[in-house]
Symmetry: C2
Subunit: 445 residues, 2 copies
């Protein structure tokens, strides 16, 4: 139980509200009062307080590659070679340690829930672990130790490309077929309070249409989120059209994937029909702009998707950067680069993508807004650092979205518990753990 008094808070409107008291009990928000003085019993949160940020798309182990994949020249595919070399070395114990550090970095960046798009299921050569969900358990345990929520998006990954068997590394990813994937996932159980399970299709390259239907049906039966990488690269589109005579989005639609439960990750290279289908089916599009620029994917049609009726969420994906403010502003700024005009997505819509939309996409409908009855997850951002200084009350949301960075996060509460205080995680030395665990899995400097 606790009272938090916010200098400024975003309660969902077009600008921030000053002097807001948030009361919490049992992990839920029990009261929100505006324009009240700070009481001596309340924890005073300076700057701007937002609902917890949702990281809609993560591959935790990619964090170990940050910086190291930027040497010389290279393509998406040479990057993938380095990523696979790393994937070949991880085990449940080492992945737990790495993920704990990476989720710690997320907590420091104001992230209260992560969607872990997880396909590193089996031991090397594809041998199942004695506990078939040992890797999933490691990731859920890592999030629990850090104190953030997780949706473990258990990802079906069967093929090395359209009609191709998995390669040596990819054997770790494959359950063999959709039924075996569903059987394994059905045996994985989590607490439900701070961890949930969702389903994912790696891509139309890695999951055949029959198995796609099985995964989609499993997600519908269990009423859980369903995610898939879609059209990140033009090559995938062309191969899909060559194989099936339709775009990846159309193929997924034909096999029952598109619904309000579905999140299309990246969705960078879309046809007009694809965009219309996402809008009409109420899908979410999870954009990962800092990864999409790192991997030279391109700029997705964010504005058109929103106009068609789709919702946006945001993910840090490869963790080239872990900063949802940078992801949020990049949606608008990339659209400026693509069109030479400003003003496609305002600060409010970008904050919605970073909070309520991301939570809903990950199956947390009771999170992502500062309202009575919602979970007590929130983050405070300093407006008095060199980056944010000069923010005015009327433009605090714009300053947060367009000027703040993860380094400006100073307080994080998840499920009513203080996880980050004054910019430091309360139980983990995150930077040291990142250094130690990355040396462990990717080699010492």
């Amino acid at each position: 139980m606790g009272d938090y008094w916010c200098e400024l808070a975003w309660l969902g409107g077009a600008s921030a509200i000053s002097a807001v008291l948030i009361r919490e009990a049992g992990g839920l928000i029990t009261d929100v009062q505006r324009g009240v003085p700070c009481s001596p019993d309340a924890t005073r949160l300076s700057g701007l307080t937002l609902p917890g940020l949702a990281n809609g798309h993560s591959h935790a182990f990619h964090r170990a590659l940050r910086g190291r994949t930027q040497v010389g020249t290279g393509s998406f595919w040479t990057w993938r070679e380095q990523m696979y070399a790393l994937a070949a070395t991880l085990q449940p114990d080492t992945y737990f340690e790495l993920a704990r550090a990476v989720y710690g970095e997320m907590a420091l960046a104001g992230i209260t829930v992560v969607g872990e798009f997880h396909y590193l299921h089996h031991d090397v050569n594809g041998t199942p672990y004695a506990h078939p969900n040992a890797m999933s358990e490691a990731l859920v345990a890592a999030a629990r130790e850090v104190g953030i929520r997780i949706t473990l998006l258990d990802t079906c990954y069967l093929h090395g490309g359209f009609g191709q068997p998995p390669n040596e590394v990819q054997q770790r990813f494959s359950d063999g077929d959709g039924e075996a994937w569903a059987s394994r996932v059905s045996s994985f159980h989590v607490d439900g309070r701070t961890a949930r399970v969702g389903a994912a299709l790696h891509s139309v390259r890695a999951v055949d249409p029959r198995s796609t239907g099985i995964v989609a049906e499993w997600a519908a039966q269990h009423d859980v989120p369903l995610h898939a990488h879609v059209s990140e690269q033009s090559a995938e589109n062309q191969q899909c059209i060559d194989m099936y005579g339709m775009t990846p989005t159309l193929l997924l639609h034909e096999h029952g994937v598109l619904s309000e439960r579905f999140t299309s990750v990246h969705a960078t290279h879309l046809s007009g029909v694809d965009i219309g289908l996402y809008g009409a089916n109420g899908c979410t599009i999870c954009m990962c702009p800092t990864t999409e620029r790192d991997l030279a994917d391109g700029i997705g049609p964010a504005r058109s998707l929103r106009q068609a009726g789709a919702e946006l969420s945001l993910g840090t994906d490869s963790h080239a950067v872990i900063d949802l403010f940078e992801e949020a502003r990049a949606v608008e700024l990339n659209e400026r680069l693509a069109t030479n005009t400003r003003g496609h997505h305002d600060a409010t819509s970008l904050l919605q993508a970073a909070t309520v939309n991301g939570h809903r996409s990950l199956g947390w409908g009771q999170a992502g807004t500062l309202e009575v009855g919602k979970v007590a997850d929130f983050v405070s951002v300093r407006l008095d650092t060199v980056r944010t200084a000069g923010a005015s009350e009327g433009t605090a949301l714009e300053s947060a979205v367009f000027a703040a960075s993860a380094a400006d996060v100073h307080h994080l509460v998840v499920d009513g518990k203080v996880i980050v205080r004054d910019g430091a995680h309360r139980s983990i030395d995150v930077a040291s753990e990142l250094t130690r665990t990355i040396a462990l899995v990717a080699g010492r400097p």
Copy 2:
């Protein structure tokens, strides 16, 4: 006199060197030794030490607009209205205070020299100050108090558009004609050790061809840098072609502007001929990617320019962000977005843009590298923060360019003096000064 021992230092090669001793006396580097142990007398610099960063293009007062110009929708021209409203209020005393805070933010970001593209010369309605260079003096004094170098690029700004008189605000910018500009600038003197004067043309819109020739000749006679905004927006190109039958770059070339002394700022929308001319004349192109994305200018042809023989430098321009690491990586990352391929500019070439090229463009040929005889200007970047943790010795340059932020700068030395220690400016509370001075000039929150 001082000894600095660097855990890692960039001495100009393709990777960082470990255990480097830099000795300084009288503001110059007197010795550089590799692979030596840290002596008890030396200041130990952890992480990666780089030559001081050069901010090639600044309009200091724009910092007061950060965040505030992002409300709703708007174009480059609506942004310019807000910028002009601010420009109308500044006076030498208030601009000194604001600039001191902004240059303080630059120091904290590792910037040791700023190129201030300055055209706010006169009092409201264009009345000259009693001291005609009072505004220039305020800016030079601000840099001196902060402890960084400045090149005051005194900017000729005569017209409100092709063939148009200056509007009400622009009267403050105009000297009337090129001769009057040259006369005023010739009466402005600085110490030369940490402050220098250069010349600038606002743009082909704001300076007619005859005055352009006068400014170019003045710069040549005084052997100082010459800068100009060029082709930031397509509209400028079209108007120039309509008026003169040639692109802005060709027009400048015809009036004696293009040389090794010349820096073309932005140069976003260029023809093949323009690119060839910049290359053949050994010009520098100062890219300001975070401003160019903020203002929806577009992505300039950085790779083609380098291939043609031009050099790149970097500027924070409107100060939507003050972070030269972000500017540096954006050159590569924007080119990835524009081409869907990776690997156009490696970390070394981007660091050269941020250091030696920027210094040369601003008239500091004896700065920008860690070599004996060069000025003792350097910056240390932490490689053990949540952003940079996991950097390896072999990829430290890549981690700095692609993962570090201004928040990772911990030590800054300029002219042999410690300016920033452990991430704090030694004499100015920069964040507080930003808050105070922005409220002063742009209104309280």
